[in-house]
Amino acid sequence: MRTTSFKSRAFALVSTTALLATLVVVAPANAAATGPTCDGKTPVQTCTGTTSDGAAYKMVIPATFNGTAMIWSHGFGGNTTIPGVFAVDSTAQLGPNFDGETGGNAAVVKYITDKGVAIMGSGFSTQGWNLDEAVKANAELVGIFKAKFTTTTKVVAWGYSMGGGITQAFAEQHPELLSAAAVINPVDAWNAQAKYFVDLLWLMKTWFDPSIKLSGYAPGAAGDMQMLGDVVKYTAVLKALQAGIATGAWPTTSSKSALALQAGGIPSRSALLMIGRLTGISTQSTSFDGIAGPPGAAATAWPLAYAPALATLENISELLGRALLGARDMEAKMGGVWIDNQTTDYSKQLSDEDRTVYNAGLSGNSAITAMLSTLNPLNPDAPRIKGEAAAMAKNASTHYQSTGKIKVPTVMMIGQHDPVEPAGIVQRISDLYEADFAAAKTAARKAGKDVPARNLQVLWSVTPKTWSKFNADGTPVTLVKTPGTTHTNFTASQYKLVIDTALSAAENGYLPWNGAHLSKVYKAKGLDIDRGTSYPWMKYYTK
């Protein structure tokens, strides 16, 4: 983890640039598959082509190819073209990228090919929420690869973020194509992920700047500009919230209802924390652990009253751009307003546990009641989003909703406090699997058969015990990439462990659980196989 001065990076938590950093421009779709065209080089040859939907793909095949291939699915990319602002990146990806990289980290790719394992990956024909298109492209790509390299015996799917969800969906829909899967900080099923995005965006708009448009954008470039306008407004809100953390001041753009809350003595940090609790954003972030406080009288009060709000703000800053781009992209794809929160009861989204644990940060029960009352559907100052029937129907029928069922040996890896893909996504899959596994064991025992092997291994990327730091004057220090926090924050060693685990599962038909493997997990650092910890599921689910 790196440290910088909180003061010198006063706006490091929040910047328009950061919110827009995920924007890329999608490549136009082609009409027919091409390739693969291979360069025939040794020791590793590269093949390229496009799938039938125009997605560019790439394959690297070592001369020592042992019959096993991995297929990578990349993460979320904005699907909005803004000429002169963002560069197109629809190129094929072969593995995870670290900061500033594209195409897949070369060392990780080499690690795989050195084992005699081939890799393939697509750029996908469309970006944004592209799960259905990506699964089809992946299935086609596996077929292309096998047709070209006929000694192929095993295929392992892997991917992160959006690609993690694609990998999970791919394994659910095409287990016959795969021997194992490695699912890294996956998106949840669309309904759950969409609710996460929309709740955050709507709550921020409703309290802090009702002039934000959020839905009903104009088609095409005009809508892109409207969305950019929203980005600017959200950024201003986040900056105002950051400035008001200590004083409790609300953004001047806040709604009348919100300003009434301010007049009632409720600080904006409590509203910020409330938004985090209603959406399910972690209260621990790269800079704020909710444990350490500045030395002195505030040592206890600071982690209770300020840290959860600051962590929420830091996490929202990382999430909000993706959420807005995802929502806008889906509106374009669905041809209208697909969001509808007219019947959402936000008061029910505050868990009993959160009401207790964050009570001080939320300024007590009376403040909680007051804040939730402003979100009442009958409050004209908090207008709900009314969806357009055709777009809503299309949204409801178009997307594959991932079931979370494990059908091939699967290793998962996720950060405890990933703000974009909360740990609860994997928690749900794990919980569902544990129930299935317990039933399968019982059934096997009843039938006098061998107990089945456990087909899911979750590697939790964990934080240090405490990590918040403070300057001599008591101000917090901004930290970067604290393990277990931020989105897709993994090391090369951790990726290599995931690769080894998945390849071992593909080779043997079951996941490794022996001492040697556990030793590898330990040596990869920062990972924990722990079925004891529990993270809340996404708010979409009622559990």
Binding site: I291, A297, L304, D352, N365, T466, G532
Partner: protein, 435 residues
């Protein structure tokens, strides 16, 4: 290849047959005692997480020392079925995130059999959920809170509380105030969270039925903000309050009393059990609470004739060297005393499961210093169920009267009446060692 001679085979067969015969007449537990986490043939390891440092630690940080002292005393007298008890203590600063971390460590690294005496509603709610105590079958016993929600056996199947519920406490305060100060203007300061919610239930029409001239809710932590306690006192004075109930944590009581002194506000103080003992935080405040009413379920720590107090005081002197024997020491030692009985009741080879079952089955019969019974059963996670009322004397100790005779009240968390208790406390086992 392994070769076995016929003679060796016969001998082996005979041994196996004899073993099988002997096993068939032995209880299963004795044949193959399951190795339980935190339990060896010579030791039992327990853990606790609570604030040991920081602003929330006052008083509570004395609990582990007293608990350890009692365990050491038991260990010096043979332990529990030959096993010596150890207590791993972790400081959570009263922060939920740290309590979660600590509990994870107690379970995974220290490998304790059970957590006992952990402090706080928020911390224990967070822990029960994040650490999954229920699903994993890990006991968290005798939690130091009166939050009634922990009696939800479905949500907290392996947790139990030791204090009477805050609902019970409010009901009893209601009766006491109505009986003692009829016609007086009564006012309430309460914490605006689960703690206060329970109090409001206990005071409402269906329960304690106590009306207030002025009610002020304070958000947790606001008591430390300059000027805020003064604003409470302004409201109470304006309301003409004659009896002032404070249902808050110790720091809220402290700042309230100090603000009242400054404003020359001198009502009859009724201090809830949680936050009454401000003399231990700031001895300078003792003069301000002399004559204030509060309540306890344990005998007065200065009771010269109580056999439990006498025994625990002796143990404290020998095994908690240098530590004052005060109400915190008494609470800590009594908790350890109950824990030892639970471990004994859990069988010769105790497991987490048998420990929980033992408390359900016989926890209500465990002798202890409290003047009201424990209520553990298959349907109740709640410990004690009553209080006696007393006043703070010149040394800041709560006493019932000059003769140390107690009038103890008991009730439930529902709408049952508040009655004088007829409970007859079991005698202290010989030498303070449970049978």
């Amino acid at each position: 290849m392994i070769r076995t001679t016929r003679r060796k085979f016969l001998v082996a067969s005979a041994v196996m047959a004899a073993t099988a015969l002997s096993l068939s007449v032995m209880p299963a537990q004795a044949i193959s005692p399951r190795s339980e986490v935190g339990v060896t043939s010579t030791a039992i390891k327990l853990g606790i997480t609570l604030p040991m440092k920081g602003s929330a630690s006052f008083g509570y940080n004395q609990l582990p020392g007293a608990m350890k002292a009692y365990f050491d005393y038991v260990n010096a007298n043979g332990g529990v079925n030959g096993r010596k008890i150890s207590l791993v203590v972790k400081d959570d600063g009263y922060l939920p995130k740290q309590a979660i971390q600590n509990t994870q460590d107690l379970i995974a690294k220290d490998k304790v059999m059970a957590v006992i005496g952990a402090l706080g509603t928020a911390n224990n709610k967070a822990v029960a959920s994040a650490v999954n105590l229920g699903r994993r079958g890990i006991p968290s016993l005798f939690i130091n809170t009166g939050f009634s929600g922990f009696n939800d056996r479905k949500a907290f199947p392996t947790s139990s509380t030791i204090l009477p519920s805050y609902i019970m406490e409010a009901k009893m305060i209601g009766k006491y105030v109505k009986d003692t100060f009829p016609g007086k203007k009564v006012c309430l300061l309460y914490q605006d969270d689960d703690f206060g919610d329970d109090a409001l239930v206990g005071f409402d029409k269906a329960h304690g039925n106590l009306d207030f001239a002025v009610k002020v809710a304070y958000p947790s932590l606001s008591q430390g903000v300059a000027g805020v306690p003064d604003s409470w006192i302004t409201k109470f004075k304006a309301g003409g309050c004659e009896v002032q109930i404070v249902f808050g944590v110790a720091s809220a009581t402290l700042y309230t009393i100090l603000a009242a002194v400054k404003a020359q506000y001198a009502p009859k103080w009724i201090l809830g059990s949680v936050g009454a003992d401000i003399g231990s935080i700031n001895p300078a405040t003792v003069p301000y609470i002399i004559g204030a009413t509060s309540m306890s379920f344990l005998p007065s720590v200065v009771d010269p004739k109580d056999e439990y107090v006498t025994q625990f005081k002796e143990i404290n002197t020998k095994y908690n060297v240098g530590a004052k024997f005060n109400s915190w020491a008494l609470i800590g030692m009594n908790t350890a005393f109950i824990a030892v009985q639970a471990l004994k009741a859990a069988g010769k080879n105790p497991t987490r499961k048998s420990l929980l079952a033992a408390i359900d089955a016989s926890g209500s019969k465990f002798p202890n210093a409290a003047l009201v019974p424990l209520n553990y059963s298959q349907t109740s996670n709640v410990g004690l169920n009553g209080y006696w009322f007393g006043t703070f004397n010149k040394t800041g100790d709560l006493v019932p009267n000059d003769t140390f005779s107690y009038t103890v009240y008991t009730t439930d968390s529902g709408t049952g009446p508040v009655d004088k208790s007829s409970y007859s406390r079991p005698a202290m086992p010989a030498k303070g060692l449970p049978n």
